[in-house]
């Protein structure tokens, strides 16, 4: 049979059809930050893994991450969706939108790509988004050449110059051709990427809100059925960009990693990431020191947590101020559902 006769709808039933979705967590089921919602937000929001509510200058918006009810049929196979509502924005180029930043600006350069996603209005009535005062439409893709040195300027390509949202879940499909990157210069900082942008809302869209689910970006001019990957596989892909070390269960303590006492009041560990991260990550922890315990023949709340040494894509050295016998081995544990330790290598 000639290849031209292959029905792309059958590509979803075999391994050869795999790896079509360029996006990670397109079905939005991985949420390592346990993000639920916020209101009156004026900063970026890193929400479900790989998804960002991005903004420019003066905006005020609400955002949330929501699970679909079990067995729902509005968006077949979808597990969760992201939602945001613009409360207000300054004039000009101030906006809020949903983004995913795809590593490597050369991805699919010079090729046709097809975007498909489900969306609806959350206001009880439909509305239309248009390009307004910026250079691209409300659904677009941006080639970002990074920073460092003298990188080329961004190149924006519209998927749609306007989009009308209905009150019922609707599948949208667009095809565009990404410009070639021949002759372009990529920055030296290692942060170049493709930026998928959905639902740009500006000042005249205040009061409108969008729900977005099951997003797929693939090479070619045809929207194939959504590619479902296992949770474990999707989580592993996400952990290149973000990793929560702590996974606390119920009322029991949860061991995190082994530690060694360098001195009577300092213990250390070197934590190996599950996968190599995109860049040396930012480390943060919470809620309070009392949410962690150091056990070196004792049970001690650390009085300080810090990083040690230079960052790495593969492991990080952490230090804890806690009493211990010098030279002894022990471990660090979390004792509260408020505990977290984040490693963040997102764009």
């Amino acid at each position: 049979m000639a290849l031209s006769k292959v029905d792309p709808n059958f590509l979803n039933v075999s391994q050869v059809g795999g790896r079509r979705n360029i996006l990670i967590n397109g079905n939005m089921e991985v949420n390592q930050r346990s993000f639920s919602s916020n209101t009156g937000r004026t900063q970026f929001t890193y929400a479900g893994d790989r998804w960002i509510f991005a903004k420019n200058d003066v905006v005020n918006y609400d955002s949330s991450y929501n699970s679909f009810s079990v067995g729902q049929t509005d968006v077949p196979g979808a597990k969760a969706y992201h939602e945001f509502t613009l409360n207000s924005a300054g004039s000009g180029t101030d906006f809020v939108r949903l983004e995913q930043r795809i590593e490597d600006v050369t991805t699919a350069a010079g090729e046709q790509v097809t975007l498909s996603f489900w969306a609806r209005s959350n206001t009880g009535s439909g509305f239309t988004l248009d390009a307004d005062g910026i250079t691209a439409g409300p659904v677009e893709i941006m080639q970002y050449f990074g920073t460092g040195g003298t990188p080329s300027s961004v190149v924006e390509t519209d998927f749609a110059t306007s989009i009308t949202l209905n009150t019922t879940w609707t599948k949208y499909t667009y095809t565009a051709t990404l410009p070639s990157v021949s002759g372009k210069t990529i920055g030296t900082d290692g942060n170049d990427h493709l930026r998928l942008i959905i639902g740009t809302m500006m000042d005249d869209d205040a009061g409108n809100g969008i729900q977005i689910a099951q997003v797929q970006l693939e090479r070619g001019d045809t929207a194939t059925p959504f590619e479902h990957r296992s949770y474990a596989e999707e989580l592993s892909l996400c952990q290149r960009y973000f990793n929560n070390i702590v996974d606390y269960y119920g009322t029991n303590v949860t061991g995190l990693f082994m530690t060694a006492a360098y001195a009577t009041d300092n213990t250390y560990t070197v934590y190996q990431y599950p996968v190599e991260m995109r860049a040396p990550p930012t480390f943060s922890y919470g809620g309070a020191y009392t949410d962690f315990k150091s056990r070196h023949g004792n049970n001690v709340t650390p009085s300080n947590i810090t990083t040690h040494g230079y960052g790495s894509k593969r492991q990080i050295a952490l230090g804890f101020t806690a009493t211990a016998t010098a030279g002894s081995a022990g471990w660090m544990e979390s004792v509260s559902s408020d505990a977290y330790m984040y490693l963040d290598a997102e764009f």
């Binding site: 995109r278 860049a279 930012t282 040690h308 290598a345």
Partner: protein, 60 residues
């Protein structure tokens, strides 16, 4: 890229006394940032330093 509210930036030394990371408060969260250009927090810290709007304190 993202404009961040960064305060309390201070270098952290390794055991040999070399600057190895930066502790800072970014958008209200205390974070430890590696000295790596590919890290978005470090890139923004250095952008603000170069613009003269942020100073990184020496390690204690």
């Amino acid at each position: 890229m993202e404009s961040m509210n960064i305060t309390n930036a201070q270098y952290i030394e390794d055991m040999d006394g070399n600057n190895s990371s930066i502790k800072a408060t970014i958008d209200g969260n205390s974070v430890f940032v590696p000295l790596s250009e590919g890290n978005r927090h470090y890139a923004e810290i250095m952008r603000q330093v170069n613009e003269g709007t942020l100073t990184i304190a020496d390690a204690e």
